[in-house]
C-alpha cells in the first residue's frame, strides 16, 4: 500500500497479528525460499482473519501487496485457493484496481500527484522530467529495478502542490531540478553500494 503521510505507523503495527521477529537470536541470513515461506505464512494470518466475512477479497489483496511489495501470480493463486474464489475472479479484481501492481517495484518509488491542483501548478512538467531522466512511463520500473514511477490522485495536501512522494515521504512545491537531484542521489547511493560488494 502506498503510505503517504507518516502517521499511522503505531496503529498499523497494532493491527498486525503477532509479528515474526525472533528477538535476541543471532541474525541469520534468510535465503529466498525461507523469506518466501514467511511471507505466505503472514498472508495466511490475514486470510484467516478476513475470509470469515464476505466480500473481503480487496483487503486481503492489499495485505498481500504490503507483504510481497506486489501481487505475484503465486500469491493470487494462493489467495484464490484459500478463499475458494476462482483464480480468474481474483485476477479480475487485481487488474481492475489501480492500486494493485503485478510487477515488482523499484527500490525508489516516485509517486507524482496528478490531482487537479497539482496538475494546474505544473505537475506535467515534473512528469516530463521524470520520463526524461528515467526513460520510463508512469506505471513502469527502470530496468535496473531502482525506480518506479507512478501517478496518484490528490493526496490531500494541495496547499503544497505540486507534490512528489518519494518512498512515502511528501515533497511539496516540487521542482524539476529537485527531482533530478533526488534521482542522482539514489543512483549514487546504489553505485557505492554495489562497489562495496
Amino acid at each position: 500500500m502506498v503510505q503517504y503521510a507518516h502517521t499511522g505507523k503505531e496503529s498499523r503495527e497494532r493491527e498486525i497479528p503477532a509479528p515474526f521477529v525472533s528477538e535476541g537470536k543471532p541474525e541469520q541470513k534468510p535465503d529466498k525460499e525461507q523469506t518466501w515461506e514467511k511471507k505466505f505464512n503472514e498472508l495466511d494470518r490475514y486470510i484467516s482473519l478476513y475470509a470469515k466475512e464476505p466480500g473481503q477479497l480487496i483487503i486481503i489483496l492489499q495485505k498481500a501487496q504490503d507483504i510481497f511489495g506486489y501481487l505475484p501470480e503465486e500469491a493470487q493463486a494462493y489467495i484464490a485457493e484459500k478463499t475458494g474464489t476462482p483464480v480468474s475472479e481474483v485476477n479480475g479484481v487485481v487488474t481492475f484496481y489501480s492500486l494493485f501492481s503485478t510487477e515488482p517495484r523499484g527500490k525508489c518509488a516516485l509517486d507524482l500527484c496528478m490531482g487537479t491542483a497539482c496538475y494546474i501548478k505544473g505537475a506535467q512538467e515534473l512528469m516530463d522530467t521524470l520520463k526524461d531522466q528515467l526513460q520510463i512511463d508512469a506505471g513502469e520500473t527502470t530496468a535496473d529495478h531502482l525506480f518506479t514511477v507512478n501517478t496518484t490522485r490528490c493526496i490531500g495536501a494541495c496547499g503544497l502542490a505540486p507534490i512528489l512522494v518519494v518512498n512515502g515521504e511528501v515533497h511539496g512545491n516540487a521542482k524539476s531540478g529537485e527531482i533530478i537531484k533526488i534521482i542522482q542521489k539514489y543512483r549514487k547511493g546504489e553505485d557505492s553500494e554495489s562497489k562495496k560488494h
Partner: protein, 648 residues
Amino acid sequence: MKVKNTEDLREIKDKFFPLIKQRLGHRNGLGITQVLVCSGTACSSAESQDFRLELERELERRNLRDNVRIFKTGCFGFCQHGPIAMVHPGEVFYCQVKPDDVKELVETHFLSGRVVERLLYQNNGQRANNIEDIHFFQAQKRIVLRNCGVINPEDISEYIARDGYFALADIILNKKPSEIIDKIKKSGLRGRGGAGFPTGRKWEMTAAQDVKPKYVLCNADEGDPGAFMDRSILEGDPHSILEAMAVSGYCIGAAQGYIYIRAEYPIAVERLEIAIDQARGYGLLGKNLFGTSFDFDIGLRFGAGAFVCGEETALLQSVMGQRGEPRPRPPYPAQEGLWGKPTLISNVETYANIPVILREGWEWYSGHGTASSKGSKVFSLAGKINTTGLIEVPMGTTLRTIVFDIGGGIPGGKKFKAVQTGGPSGGCIPDKYLDLPIDYESLKEIGSMMGSGGMIVMDEENCMVDIARFYVEFTQDESCGRCTPCRVGTKRLLEVLKRITEGKGEMEDLELLEELAFDIRDASLCGLGQTAPNPVISTMRYFREEYIAHIRDKTCPAGVCKALLDYTVDEAKCAACGLCAKVCAAGAITGARGQPYRIDPEKCLKCAACVAKCPKNAITKGIRKEDVNIAETGIHTGTGGQEERAAL
C-alpha cells in the same frame, strides 16, 4: 464502561467539557495550557507530527507536562499555512510551525507568557493574534466542520463532550423512526455526494422496503482528483459519521453499516478504526444499544483506487469485493443493494450533517442556505489561490466571496480565469458568474455541478483546452469499459483534444467535439460516462476563443500547450553564465562565455529546467516565434508547421 442512557453520556461530558470550554474561548481558570496540533493529511505532510513529538520531548525535559497538554486535532482548514498549532487559553493561532520553533515557543509562550509574534499569520503586514482576525475565517460558517480543530478525533470522550451521541441515545430510547425521517425531510438536507437527492426521501424509500436485512453504507470514496473534504471530515470528526450511520440504521431498520474508504487515505482509515473501537467499547456500536433490542455495527471496506467506485452501483460491487462495475438503475440501491438487499448509500458530508440537524432542530438548519439548497457546503479550495484550504460556507455564497475574500485572491497579481467545480463531472465557470449565489440549481444551470465539493481556481496561465484534455484523460483512464459510448467515446474525445493541443486541430473538430460530447452524455450507462463530457462542453461554451486560437492560429494563449510554444533566451538579460546549457538534458542550449546563449527549438524538450536555473530570469516561454499576433489588427500570421499549413 457501557453507556446505557443519557445520564451516562452526561457524566462523560461533564468530565471532559472543561477542556472543550477553554478551547471555545472561555478562560475558566483551568490552570493548564492546551496545544492543539493539526494532524490532518495536509499538515502531517508538512511534518506537523515531528513538531508535536519534539514539543512533547521539550515539555518532558522541562518538566512541564502537567501544565501544558498537547492534543491532536482535525483540519483547521488553513492548509496553505500549515502546520498549525493553536494554543489555549487565548486562541493563539500559530502557523507553519517547525520542530526548530519548539524551544522558542516553550520559553517565550509557556514560560514567559508572551506570544511568539513571528509565528503568527500576517494579514497584509498585520499580525493576526487570533483566529477571528484572519480573513480566511470571516465569511465561513462551520456547521459540518464544527468539531474539526476543536476536538481530538482519537478520543470519543471529547466528541461526547461536544454533545455527541446524545441524539442517538434520545432517538433510540424515545423516538419512532418515522419522526426522525420526517425531521430530516423537513430540514431540506440534500445529498452532498454530487447529485443532491433529498436525503430524507432516500431514508423513507429504504425504510419502506419490506425486506430484511438492510444495510447502511457510507460513500467515502472521494474520487474527484483534486478534493479532500470527505477525507478531512473523517480525519477530524469520525464519530459524527458513526453516530449518523447508527441513527439512519435505526430509522431504516438496518443492523449493519459499512464505510467504503480508499486504502490510500491512511490517516482517515486509522482514525476510523480507532473511533469504531472506542464506540464499541462504550457500547455505542454493537449489540443492544442503550439496553434496547437495537443492534448496529459498522465495518470498513476498502477501495483500491478506482474513480468509478464512487458511483453507487459500482460501489456496491466493490464493497462485496468484486470489480467495481456499475449497472443500470432501477433497481435502485434502496431496493436492491448489498447482497441484493435494500441499502442506504450516502456521502460522508451528508452523514456529517445529521447529528447537527437532530441536535439543533430542522428549523434552525433550514434557516441556512437558499430556497432549494439548505445548510452549508464544505469545499476544498485549491489551485491558483493564495490560501488553499478546507472551507465551509452557507449555500448561496458567491464565488467572489469564496475566491477573493476567503481564498485571498489569485497569487502573483495574475488574472482570474475560471473556477472548476464538480471535478471530472463538472465544468469551468468563467468570471462573469463570480457574483452568482451558488447552490445545486444555479451551478447546474451554468453547466457545472456541485459535485462533492472540489473547487479549483485557475488563472490566466491555465489553458482551458488543456484542462478539458486533462479531465477527459482522467475519465478515459477511469472508464470501466463496460459500455461502448463511454469506453470508445471518451477515447475519441481525448484524441481530438490532444490533436488540438498539439496544434494539429481543424475547425471541423469543434463540431466533432460537440457531437461526441452529447452522444456520450446521452448514451452512457452510468454517471461517469454521462458526465464525462461536461468539462469539454463547459469550456467550449465559455472559452471557445481559446479553442479557436489553438486550431486556427496554432497558439496557446495561456502558454501551456508545449507543441505551441518555444523557450527563448532574452539576449538583453542573458549574462552568458552558461548555467542553462549545463542543466539542459537535451543539449539544446549553446553559447560561449561573453555571448548570449541560444535554445534550439528542435532539440528543446521544454522541460523548463533552464528556466529554474537562470539567475537572471532571462529565459521565457512564449507562443511560437513565427506566430506573430498583431494585436491592433487582430491578424494572426504563421502556423505551427508545414503539415498544418497544408491543412489550413
